[in-house]
C-alpha cells in the first residue's frame, strides 16, 4: 500500500518536473537561442551569452500545430473577403493546416498590450513596438537560417536596429512605408508639398482634418519642428529632450484648436474621407487605395521635408503556443507571392526582388511607386521607433522623454 502510494507520488513529481522543465526542449526551432540571449543582450548590451543559433535544416521546423493566433495591422492578413484576388492566408492554411485567426491592433501601444497577454503567437510589429517587445521578453529571437525565403530579402532591410540586437535577429521584415498626406483633390489644389496645410494652415480646414490617434503622432509634430524651428535642435523625432517634447506638444495643442478628427480604425478614416467630413489628413497608402478603388477623389503625397513611417517586422512570441506554425507563417510572408500581394494590397514596399517581380504582375509599377529599392527615398522616412529615456544613443549625458510620458501627454491632449 505504501509503495503504491509512494510510486504514485513519484510519478506525479516526475510529471510536474517534466512540465516545468526548460520550455525550449518542446519547441523544435529555437532550441539553443531561447533563454539566455534575449534579456541579457538587450538589457545590458553585453555580448550574447548563448551560443550562435544552431543551423537547422528547414525540415527541422516541426509540423504545424493546427492553428495560429496573430496580432496584425488591419489589412495584413487578407483571405479574399474584400477582393477575391488578394488572399495570402488561404493558400497558407491549405499548405500547412495552420488555421489563422487575427486580431487587429489600433496602434503599437495596443499591439504591445495584446502581446503581453501571452495568448498570441506572433505580431507584425512596427519599430515603436519592437524595442518594448524585445526588452520586455515578450518575443523570441528568430533562427533565420530556418527560413528559406530570408536569403532573398533586400540587404537594406536586414539587421536594422529596430529588430536586431547585437546581430541577433528578432523577426523578419514584412514591408515598409511612409505616412502620407491624404487630401481631397476636388477641394484642395494644387497638391500640398509639405506638412504646412495641416500644421500652419490648419485653420483653413477647421473640423476637416484627419489625424492618427496614437501617441506616436507626437513625432510628426517633432518632425515638422525640425524644419520650422531648427534651433530646437531636434535630430530624431522619437528621442526628444523635455524642451523639444514640450514644443511638439504645444504644436499639437494648436492643431487641436482646429478640431481635427482622430482616426484609429482604417475603416473610420475611409468613411470620413468618403463622406467629405475630412478633406486632408495623415494616412497610409492602404486607405488611399481603398478610396481610389471606390472612385473617391483622394490622392496621397509624400512631402519634400520627409515624413514618419514604419518598417514592420513579423515577430514570434516567446510563449507562442504554436511556434512551428509561426515559423511557417514568417517564411510564407517572405515568399514572392504572399509578400507581393500583401504589399500591393497595403500600398507598401515589398521586401525582396522576387516579391517586387510578382507585384509587377498584379500592379505594374508598384515597386517604383513605393520606392522599394530607393534607399535615398527612405532616408527621408523616420521609421516609428520607441521613445527611450536614454535617447537610444551612447551618450550617457542625454535624457529623453519616456514612452510613458508620450502616452500621458497624448491622453491629456485627446481627452480634454
Amino acid at each position: 500500500m505504501f509503495q503504491r502510494r509512494f510510486g504514485g507520488v513519484l510519478a506525479v513529481v516526475a510529471l510536474v518536473a517534466a512540465a516545468c522543465g526548460p520550455a525550449a526542449s518542446s519547441t523544435a526551432p529555437t532550441a539553443a537561442a531561447t533563454g539566455a540571449a534575449p534579456t541579457g543582450a538587450a538589457a545590458t548590451g553585453a555580448a550574447p551569452t548563448a551560443a550562435a543559433p544552431t543551423v537547422e535544416l528547414p525540415s527541422a521546423v516541426g509540423p504545424g500545430e493546427g492553428s495560429l493566433n496573430l496580432v496584425i495591422w488591419a489589412g495584413y492578413a487578407e483571405r479574399g473577403a474584400v477582393d477575391k484576388a488578394y488572399d495570402w492566408v488561404t493558400p497558407f492554411e491549405t499548405a500547412t493546416s495552420c488555421k489563422v485567426t487575427t486580431t487587429d491592433m489600433s496602434d503599437s501601444n495596443n499591439g504591445v498590450s495584446l502581446m503581453q497577454s501571452g495568448q498570441y503567437d506572433g505580431i507584425s510589429a512596427s519599430g515603436d513596438a519592437t524595442a518594448r517587445l524585445i526588452q520586455g521578453g515578450i518575443v523570441a529571437p528568430v533562427n533565420t537560417a530556418l527560413l528559406s525565403n530570408y536569403a532573398k530579402v533586400f540587404a537594406g532591410l536586414k539587421g536594422l536596429p529596430h529588430n536586431t540586437v547585437n546581430g541577433i535577429s528578432y523577426g523578419v521584415p514584412h514591408g515598409r512605408g511612409p505616412n502620407l498626406i491624404g487630401y481631397n483633390t476636388g477641394k484642395i489644389t494644387p497638391a500640398p508639398t509639405n506638412w504646412d496645410p495641416i500644421w500652419e494652415g490648419g485653420s483653413a480646414y477647421k473640423g476637416k482634418i484627419s489625424i492618427y490617434d496614437s501617441s506616436i503622432f507626437i513625432a510628426d509634430a517633432a518632425l515638422h519642428l525640425m524644419r520650422t524651428k531648427p534651433d530646437l535642435g531636434i535630430k530624431d523625432p522619437y528621442q526628444l529632450t523635455k524642451p523639444q517634447f514640450d514644443a511638439a506638444v504645444a504644436l499639437l495643442q494648436a492643431l487641436n484648436a482646429n478640431q481635427p478628427t482622430y482616426w484609429s480604425g482604417v475603416t473610420d478614416q475611409v468613411a470620413s474621407y468618403t463622406s467629405g467630413d475630412v478633406v486632408i489628413g495623415t494616412t497610409w497608402q492602404y486607405q488611399v487605395n481603398l478610396l481610389q478603388t471606390d472612385k473617391q477623389p483622394i490622392q496621397a503625397v509624400f512631402p519634400d521635408e520627409g515624413s514618419t513611417g514604419w518598417s514592420d517586422t513579423w515577430m514570434i512570441a516567446k510563449k507562442a503556443a504554436h511556434p512551428n506554425c509561426m515559423y511557417l507563417w514568417m517564411n510564407h510572408m517572405m515568399s514572392a507571392q504572399a509578400n507581393g500581394q500583401a504589399t500591393v494590397w497595403f500600398g507598401e514596399a515589398p521586401t525582396s526582388p522576387e516579391a517586387c517581380a510578382y507585384a509587377e504582375t498584379i500592379a505594374p509599377g508598384h515597386c517604383a511607386q513605393t520606392h522599394a529599392t530607393d534607399e535615398a527615398y527612405y532616408a527621408k522616412v523616420h521609421y516609428w521607433a520607441t521613445p527611450q529615456t536614454d535617447c537610444a544613443d551612447t551618450d550617457a549625458a542625454t535624457t529623453c522623454v519616456s514612452q510613458d510620458d508620450w502616452v500621458s501627454a497624448w491622453t491629456t491632449l485627446r481627452g480634454g
Partner: protein, 267 residues
C-alpha cells in the same frame, strides 16, 4: 374622470411618440437587413434576401453563434444551480445577514459592467489564467445567478411549504423531496429564470469584451469587430436583426410562462 380631456389626449399622443421613439432603431435595422446594396446609405437602394444567405455561410458568424450558444448554456446551468441554492437557503432558513445576501447577489449587476469586466480581467491575468471560453462563462454565470435567484425566490414566496413537509413526513429524504416535490413546483420559475439568464448571456458585451480571449468570439463580439470591416456591414445588419428576434423570443416566452402563474401554486 380626474384628468381632463385635453390632458388625456396629450398623454395619448405623448405615449405614441415615445413608443415610436422606442421602435425607430429596431425598424430601421430591420429595413437595413433587407437592403440590397453593400453601402449603408439611406434610403436603401433595393431589397433582397441575399445577405441572409451570406450570413448563414459566413464562417466567423457560425463560429460566433456556436461560441455564444455554448457559453450561454453552460453559464445558464451554473446560474440555475447556484441561484436555486441561494434562493432555497434564503427562503427556508432564518439566519443573520439575510438582507445582505440579497444585496450581495445583486451587486454584479448593480455596479457598472465596466468595473466587473476589468476586475475579472485583472484577476485572470494576475493568476495567469488564459482568457478564453471558460473566463467568459465565469463572467456570465456570475451575473446570471441573481436572475435565477429572483425568479425562484419570487415563486418560493408564493408557494406554501406544506407539500414539502408532507413529503418528509411520508419518509422521503431531502434529495427525493427536492427532486419530486420542490423542483416540479418551481418548474416554470426555473424555466423562465433560465430563459432570462440565457438571453442575458447571449447578448452581453460590456463584460465579455474584457473576459474573452483572442480566439473566443461571441456574437456581440463578432458584431463589434465586424463594424470595423465595411465589407461585412451587410452581414452585420442581418446578424443584428436575427439577434433581436433571438433575444426577444426567449424573454417573451419567459414572460408568458411566469406571468401565467398568477393564481398561485396548487399541485
Amino acid at each position: 374622470m380626474i384628468e381632463s380631456r385635453a390632458i388625456r389626449i396629450a398623454l395619448r399622443i405623448a405615449s405614441a411618440l415615445v413608443l415610436a421613439f422606442l421602435y425607430l432603431p429596431l425598424v430601421v435595422l430591420a429595413i437595413y437587413a433587407f437592403n440590397d446594396s453593400r453601402i449603408q446609405a439611406w434610403p436603401p437602394a433595393g431589397f433582397s434576401l441575399r445577405w441572409f444567405g451570406e450570413a448563414a455561410s459566413n464562417p466567423g458568424v457560425i463560429k460566433a453563434v456556436t461560441t455564444s450558444l455554448i457559453a450561454g448554456s453552460v453559464a445558464t446551468v451554473l446560474a440555475l444551480v447556484l441561484g436555486t441554492m441561494a434562493a432555497l437557503a434564503v427562503h427556508r432558513f432564518r439566519f443573520f445577514g439575510r438582507e445582505t445576501v440579497s444585496f450581495l447577489l445583486v451587486l454584479p449587476i448593480a455596479l457598472p459592467g465596466v468595473v466587473t469586466g476589468i476586475a475579472l480581467q485583472r484577476t485572470f491575468k494576475t493568476f495567469d489564467i488564459n482568457l478564453g471560453l471558460m473566463t467568459v462563462i465565469v463572467g456570465h454565470a456570475t451575473f446570471c445567478v441573481v436572475i435565477v435567484y429572483n425568479n425562484v425566490i419570487a415563486r418560493l414566496r408564493r408557494l406554501p411549504s406544506s407539500p414539502e413537509e408532507a413529503s418528509s413526513d411520508l419518509g422521503a429524504d431531502i434529495w427525493t423531496t427536492f427532486r419530486r416535490v420542490t423542483a416540479p413546483r418551481l418548474g416554470t420559475a426555473l424555466l423562465s429564470g433560465a430563459l432570462l439568464a440565457f438571453a442575458l448571456s447571449f447578448d452581453e458585451i460590456i463584460v465579455t469584451n474584457f473576459t474573452a480571449g483572442p480566439g473566443t468570439q461571441t456574437v456581440p463580439l463578432w458584431i463589434l469587430s465586424a463594424i470595423q470591416r465595411p465589407n461585412e456591414l451587410p452581414v452585420v445588419n442581418v446578424v443584428a436583426f436575427v439577434l433581436i428576434l433571438a433575444s426577444v423570443f426567449p424573454v417573451w416566452l419567459a414572460q408568458r410562462i411566469s406571468g401565467a402563474e398568477t393564481a398561485g401554486a396548487r399541485l
